[in-house]
Symmetry: C7
Subunit: 76 residues, 7 copies
């Protein structure tokens, strides 16, 4: 059965988000919806020159701005 993209397995795991305007954000996935809007905690923004900038307590990232979501932990 061809699995549809399932973010359920990524919840509470560390993910790396690549956003439209060349922004990269790393954090723990807490939730998502069908538009691929995602909720992350302990978020860090990694700039091009690898500087890290902590984000707020919790962040909602809009699906429309997301290019890719990488699982930084094994997905079983």
């Amino acid at each position: 059965m061809v699995s549809t993209p399932e973010l359920k397995k990524y919840v509470n795991r560390k993910i790396l988000l690549k956003l439209n305007n060349n922004r990269t954000v790393i954090g723990e996935l807490r939730g998502y919806d069908i538009f691929l809007n995602v909720v992350i905690e302990n978020g860090i923004e990694v700039s091009k020159d690898k500087n890290e900038n902590a984000l707020g307590a919790q962040s909602v990232i809009r699906g429309n701005s997301i290019v890719s979501i990488e699982a930084l932990e094994p997905i079983v």
Copy 2:
């Protein structure tokens, strides 16, 4: 239960909005709708060189222009 992105917990709290054209706005969230259009009060726009420019009494920011919404206060 995987929580869908819920802005309800952010209402009346201080949030930081990153917008499409590299604009950053900070303010108190007063309301939102399913398109992630948001209403903020006491809004401030923070330019790249950290200058702060107060916005009107109340502002509606269109969901389509929003990249991320960070809670600047703990979310319980």
Copy 3:
């Protein structure tokens, strides 16, 4: 009750619109629809170097081009 973004309170008040291509327009809100298309009167376009250019008698601004709508008068 979390209020959804309500432009009704802004009608006949002075508003400031920030548009996608760094354009700024000030005018009195006369009407709007669910796509956030808005009708303004006595519109003025404010260029980056603060020059003011009067718009036509009445203008329709398309919601898709709007980034934010600021109320320039108190909203009660």
Copy 4:
């Protein structure tokens, strides 16, 4: 009653269209649809250095490309 953006009053009047890619077109509005696609006649394109270039007999301008529609005649 909050009026929704109504182009009916603009029909057969002179309007100024600002388009996405900094193009400006002036002409008489002959028709429109719910997507704000508009039909104009006697259209002129005004370039940034104010040169005027006549358009075809009649033109359809796609709503998606329109930023604003200004009435160049009083709207009663």
Copy 5:
């Protein structure tokens, strides 16, 4: 009666298409659909320095890429 944009009158006539990325195409309109996707024959692409480059036997141009459609023949 306010006419909605009607391409029927343009069929088999010469039209000029302005596309999003500053491309200009001239050809005879053979068909269209509700998304303003259009079919043209004997198409020519006119570059900025007025060079003309013939297109294939027949071409489909996607509505999403079209800014304006000008009739190059009188529309009765």
Copy 6:
């Protein structure tokens, strides 16, 4: 009868696709859907300086990225 854009006549024929980011792809059309997503075989990408780069065995090109589809063989 005004024909709607019909790709059926283009199937198994050589076509030239112009894509949003100034990319040009030539190949044989094998299939398409209502979003104008297309399947091509024996695809070649032609760069601006006319270099040719063969694509994979088969490729799906997303409709949203397509500006125009030219038939490089007569369409009867």
Copy 7:
């Protein structure tokens, strides 16, 4: 019968994805949905100067960011 673009035949095969912002990603297709969101494993990002950068264990790439999907293995 004109086949609609069918990614089923690409599953568990090596594919090359060209993304909107000139990014190129190679990996094994594990799943997809009707929006052409795709799940890949053993993903590698290939930069313009041909440097290879391994992606996370598994990645979801959003359909909206995808320009083309090339099968790097024969499709039967």
